[in-house]
Amino acid sequence: MKTQYSQTLTLAVPEHLIQQANHLACLMGESAADIETFRQATYTNGTVNYAVAHTVCKPVVTDALSTLTLPPDPDHVPPEYDRTQAEAAVAAIQSGEILVAANVDPHEQFAAWGLTPIPVEEPM
């Protein structure tokens, strides 16, 4: 049996767009918890800090994002979900503020985007 999760997505979200990206993640994802996909920035390009994610996904997700076509709101969205926030995230993808790539090695892609881990001397 083959997995339905035949694709992967790698995303980098500027810190100021984390909230919008989370609403998009909730829309495109599979559970209410997806509204907390992006938490804190862990990568930087030296000027802007980014929260990142890498995930397996079904082709319907990569297809939607490649055409920037949002599906209807799914049943799992929590009360705080806001479609206008998700739409704002789509606009940020379109403008290039939110970085997205499909079917790539995430670490290679972060480097290609000029992103490096935010220095942390040691775990607290």
């Binding site: 083959k2 995930t55 397996v56 892609q109 040691e122 775990p123």
Partner: protein, 245 residues
């Protein structure tokens, strides 16, 4: 319009090398460690114990399926879950991409516990942490190339054993004890979970560079074991994962 970068479809999945040499231990079953109601959990990341979603409605059936629920086989009901789709490790085993994967389980509010886990760091893995409590300021097995002795925090004074050999409490020693691309049996003995907030997260450190990148296999988390019990688990997991003790 910024378009998605597309490369030829390339599976990000690990292939058959992730699977251990034998599907089950033929000598000792870690489930027996809980036969008298001992606290803890035993995780065996094989399809019959795995679900794609945290609610447990969709079983894992194929390589590449995300893991949202991993059942505890000890009988204590300490099932491990990950509700966020993008943070789920991937079957086979638990495969972590070093970006943001983690899975969490409830643990008792107090006590001393042993954690025995088979891990295989990715070939390009650098530094990592294996497990944290509910707060990332509670962690064990911090491994990197530095000389720091800060290998754990808010976890008592655990003792570290890798592949049956005691390892000094330094990040460099822990890092050197495991080889990228090879299975290793990590034992963290006498973890004090009093400050762990009732939760254990496997590879849950939310800072770039400390996330685990690689595969996690069987996990035994049990109130401090006897030396005989540790030996039994050690031998069973070593045989299963082809580890030389």
């Amino acid at each position: 319009m910024r378009t998605l970068l597309r490369s030829p479809l390339r599976s990000s999945l690990r292939q058959s090398l992730v699977r251990p040499l034998t599907s089950r231990s033929s000598v000792f079953d870690p489930v027996s460690l809980f036969s008298n109601g001992e606290q803890g959990a035993f995780y065996l990341p094989e399809p019959e114990n795995l679900f794609q979603d945290a609610a447990g409605t969709t079983p894992v059936t194929a390589d590449g399926d995300p893991v949202g629920l991993m059942l505890d086989k000890s009988g204590n009901g300490k099932h491990a879950t990950q509700g966020v789709s993008a943070s789920r490790p991937v079957y086979p085993g638990l495969a972590y991409d070093g970006v943001g994967g983690s899975i969490s389980a409830p643990v008792p509010a107090s006590g001393l516990f042993d954690l025995m886990v088979a891990i295989r760091p990715a070939v390009d893995e650098t530094n990592f942490i294996i497990a944290t409590g509910a707060d990332v300021s509670r962690y064990v097995f911090a491994a990197d190339g530095s000389s720091s002795t800060g290998v754990s925090n808010n976890s008592g004074s655990p003792v570290y054993v890798v592949n049956g050999v005691s390892v000094p409490r330094s990040r460099r020693a822990l890092r050197a004890a495991v080889t990228n691309g090879e299975w290793a049996l990590v034992e963290i003995q006498d973890i004090n979970v009093d400050l762990w907030g009732g939760e254990m997260t496997l590879s849950g450190y939310d800072t770039a560079g400390w996330r685990f990148h690689g595969d996690i296999g069987d996990v035994v988390f049990r109130e401090t074991m006897t030396e005989d019990e540790r030996t039994n688990v050690r031998k069973a997991l070593a045989a299963k994962y082809g580890i030389t003790l």
